[in-house]
């Protein structure tokens, strides 16, 4: 990662208000190339809102700016963000329950053949390969034609993760990806987050489990009630100190009790 080159993604002075709720207040945030940034914060502190803003799903309140690779972007949208290589595992999974696994896997990015028609065979084949090879589900219900609705919670999460991770993305945003995953699946996911860095790509990683976040990130950003409450590097703080700080912030809103 190179501090002189502009960050892959940057938010400047971004706020977001929903009715009376101020979910984000004047937040500055950035991710550099090859950097894994951990995002921590209490429930409702605005982490998911920030993710959705980076993806162009939410528009910042007037005044806030979104920058991508050193350029301020106007009319940022999810379609644009994905076209530029940003993939996200949303906390709410963003699946279409009544559709098959392969349709979910390729949602919004369906491959077409030279006639402009869907390459269904390829989608089914690749979905089958990913389900077997990466998701490693043990249950019998692994056919890529199955609909997502009846899958178990962890299986659904597996589909959401797979579709974000196994396509080459410059920036991967993970909003509590290990939620509902079994021990071994969690391990696989964490391994994968590490491999993102090796490939020179970037990631934003949200997880309430500091034991998951601490070992894999380059930098930690702490959010509290919509504000940035602090920034650390794993080198500068021990896991115990971090846990303490988190508790303090959640209780008092300040870093030092």
């Amino acid at each position: 990662m190179d501090a002189t080159e502009p960050p892959v993604m940057e938010l400047r002075g971004v706020s977001k208000t929903f009715g009376e709720v101020r979910a984000l207040s004047d937040v500055d945030f950035h991710v550099r190339r090859g950097e894994i940034v951990g995002l921590l914060g209490d429930n409702g502190s605005g982490k998911s809102t920030m993710v959705k803003m980076m993806m162009g799903y939410h528009r910042p309140d007037p005044g806030g700016e979104v920058w991508f690779e050193g350029e301020r972007v106007q009319g940022w949208s999810v379609a644009k963000a994905r076209a530029l290589g940003i993939e996200t595992v949303y906390q709410e999974r963003a699946l279409a329950d009544l559709q098959s696994v392969w349709r979910n896997m390729f949602m919004g990015r369906e491959p077409v053949n030279r006639f402009g028609l869907l390459d269904i065979r390829r989608m089914r084949r690749e979905a089958a390969a990913l389900m077997k090879g990466h998701m490693g589900f043990t249950s019998g219900a692994v056919h890529p034609d199955n609909v997502v609705q009846t899958m178990s919670g962890g299986e659904k999460q597996g589909v959401a993760i797979t579709r974000a991770l196994f396509f080459e993305a410059r920036l991967v945003v993970l909003d509590e990806p290990t939620m509902g995953l079994s021990l071994s699946e969690t391990q696989k996911t964490l391994d994968f987050v590490r491999s993102i860095k090796e490939a020179g790509r970037s990631a934003v990683f949200i997880d309430h489990n500091v034991y998951h976040v601490y070992p894999v990130v380059d930098r930690l950003v702490l959010l509290d009630r919509g504000r940035i409450a602090g920034e650390f590097t794993p080198a500068g703080i021990t896991l115990e100190q971090l846990t303490d700080r988190l508790r303090t912030v959640a209780r008092t809103g300040r870093l030092e009790g």
């Binding site: 949602m107 919004g108 089914r124 196994f166 396509f167």
Partner: protein, 339 residues
Amino acid sequence: MAKTGIPPREEVAAEAVPRITPRLFLRRHALTTGTIGIAVVMWTIFIVAAPDVFLNSRIYSAFGITTPLWGMMALALTFVVITREMDLSFVSVMALGMVGFVRVHEFTGSVLLAILACLLVGLACGLFNGFLVAVLGIPSLVITLGTMFFFRGIELALLDGTGVPLTDDAFGTLRDVLNGKTAGIPNEFVWMVIIGVLLWVVLNRTRYGAHLFVVGDNVDSARLMGIRVTRVKMTAFGTLGVVAAFSGMVASMQSSYLWPTLGDGSLLLPIAAVFLGGTSVFGGIGTIFGTFLGALMVGSIQAGVISAGISGFYTQLFFGLIIIVSLVMQTLISRRMRS
């Protein structure tokens, strides 16, 4: 995009998709199978009840002429319903498109321009609906009830409530194309098949079709995954508008007369066909083939009941009864096949 980057360090042999067992196949297509089943049963009953009528090709030729008049709209309505919306205004679009046709023909004398105008008016009406629904976010069932009256009102005002004879000789070719016969099959039916095939390809073999399903299934997921929901919905409404205008053209060329009330009686039939064909009211599920079958069924029920010798005040009773029994059987069959 869309280049899959399965990371090299974990090379996975691109293995074959697990085979689909017949049971799995049936289970997945339970609804369609149910629809086919009940269609066959119904047809068998009609043949038994009135063999003279139903073993004679004339009744099929009659179906082939009349069912497409609303059946084509049922096919296009399937798109709208899959996106979890509804449209009631197509019955008025049928007539309003024809006003465009008639007026442009009067002014320019060109049939081709008239056809174009007709389809454009249909498109505009559809996009107007789509705008209200997708951009402003007004519930489609109510707003299209409003536009149904609105479009009809414009049409009546433009026509001053008077019908227009379409007996001009210049329409000869158009009438041949729309209402003639091809290899003994009424062209109306040929058109319905053509539209059905086109819509089938769009729904099942294009990105746009894939997005229709996702938008209807879970609009939030669709948005989060970067699907242009507004555009998808507007296109669905626009398509229905064009098809409705085309149906209006076929219908009025068939009767050589533009009735100001054109389409008024065609509201419930396409809706019944779409749902009888297994498309879900709650979006995300639906097939063009199911709607096609549904249209054939609905189209034949009325004629079938009457040909079976039931007349007078009993036809509605049997019409209703057949719909109920069909749906119950379809539900039971597909439920059975699912487990």
